[in-house]
Symmetry: C2
Subunit: 252 residues, 2 copies
DNA sequence: ACTTCGCGACAACCTAAGTTAGGACAGACC
DNA sequence: GGTCTGTCCTAACTTAGGTTGTCGCGAAGT
């Protein structure tokens, strides 16, 4: 199912849209030492406070980053989908400042820290392409600060659902604003800074108004423009022009 | 007051702690084309939606990044101090996703986008050092998501004040947890996702309890450990070991 | 000396969201 | 078939923080 070479090839294709790579760059990426591993839902990939030894890329499945306050409250700070290079931090920072946990069953490719650093030093075009990933991550974090800081529950949840719709669409995992979202309401609460009870109330209101449809872990947005407006969602911050992996066939 | 060469030299010293630079790297940094400009308080340095043409570094003064929701609510997503490379986004992303505005009167060094990109491609060690700045920014954004999402007003404000104390101390601008913070209560509100009224209430409570002292724009934290505890502040996320500019004399 | 303006202080009232505590149901496991 | 366990749903009640509006003061301008 996960042809190991295709993982790197997809990455090469994505990076190629950012900076023209030469044969050496492509070869370096293709021969980058790595190990693909299956991670069960709920398992930790990175732990807060650890000394990182590797970077990783999600091949299949969903994962999220979160932090826990001293009082024990959990805040999810990002959700990652297949193709996302998570934990580039692990290549250059000396200590992890957050946890990374699998949301669904994942296939994750791990790259040793030393190999990443070597790659960066030897192949500046590749480094530049990866750095763009870090910058886009930062942009999404900023939008999350806004979401949690200045939007009410209704807009907050709507915004999250809009973000997922667009990111998954670009990754070829959503079609016509329908997608699978393997998150419980408690996790949605931790991502939006709300309580599970209030997430429930709000989801139901949105559903009653026909702004979203859901059963189990599937979400559909029947009236995109309406939900977009409720969310105050504008996709600039996703920098999608620099994200498209060019790897999945267009909806047909 | 701002010897232009010292700006770059300080940057070189900071980067040198992250990756060993060679003479070529140092020379490239020293000859990096740039223009230092004075920006009055409240003036915009970058505007949301613009096509960026340059990157910038704060030489002197404070600046902040913010976004405005469709409803007109403002959220400050980061505050920057002298020595901070802001808007590395401007070197690699194709559109600005937020505003950057001067908080106090600033001296800002601007670097053209093309020159930055050339520097990155020609000097991978320098790129790596700058990339670390982007990663640390990201880490701070994550902590802000937690702050705004999962802490109450009291801890939120305490946390912000703790963060400033440590960052300014490392930059040589705070001593024994005393520093100047050129922010109005309204701006503090926009940074914490609260209302100015509630910021006022909360600051007064903290002051009444002897956890902070303030007059005008000066803040002092007489009992660091106590405030740290109220905030639930742990400085890991600042990655201070990779931040120290090595440029300012230690407190003596 | 008077006015304007930006900020901070303070009070009264209101509401969005949190808290607590159940119950219903589906899958997994014995 | 029964028992967990996790997730969703619901209701009643509470509260942290928002809203609105007024006042005071110091700095800057005329």
């Amino acid at each position: 199912m996960t042809d190991p070479s295709s993982v790197l090839d997809r990455m090469i294709r994505k990076f190629e849209r950012r900076a023209p790579l030469d044969n050496g760059d492509r070869k370096a990426l293709r021969t980058l030492p790595h190990r693909v591993q299956t991670i069960e839902p709920g398992m930790y990939v990175v732990r807060d406070g650890e000394t990182p030894t590797r970077s990783c890329l999600i091949v299949e499945g969903f994962a999220y980053r979160h932090k826990v306050t001293v009082e024990g409250a959990r805040q999810i700070v990002s959700v990652h989908i297949p193709g996302d290079f998570i934990d580039l931090d692990g290549a250059l920072l000396n200590v992890s400042d957050h946890n990374v946990q699998a949301l669904s069953r994942c296939e994750i490719a791990f790259f040793p820290r030393a190999a990443m650093q070597q790659l960066i030093l030897d192949h500046p075009r590749v480094a530049m392409a990866m750095w763009v990933d870090t910058l886009i991550d930062g942009s999404i974090f900023r939008e999350w600060v806004v979401n949690v800081g200045r939007r009410d529950a209704r807009s907050r949840i709507a915004h999250l659902l809009c973000e997922f719709a667009r990111r998954l669409e670009v990754a070829g995992l959503a079609h016509e604003y329908r997608y699978e979202l393997p998150m419980t309401q408690e996790q949605l609460a931790d991502a939006t800074g709300l309580t599970p009870v209030h997430v429930n109330r709000t989801l139901q209101t949105l559903a009653r108004e026909g702004l979203i449809e859901r059963n189990r872990r599937f979400v559909a947005i029947p009236r995109w423009e309406a939900l977009r407006k409720v969310a105050g969602f504008s996709e600039t911050y996703l920098h999608l022009d620099q994200v498209k992996s060019n790897g999945s066939p267009p909806t047909q």
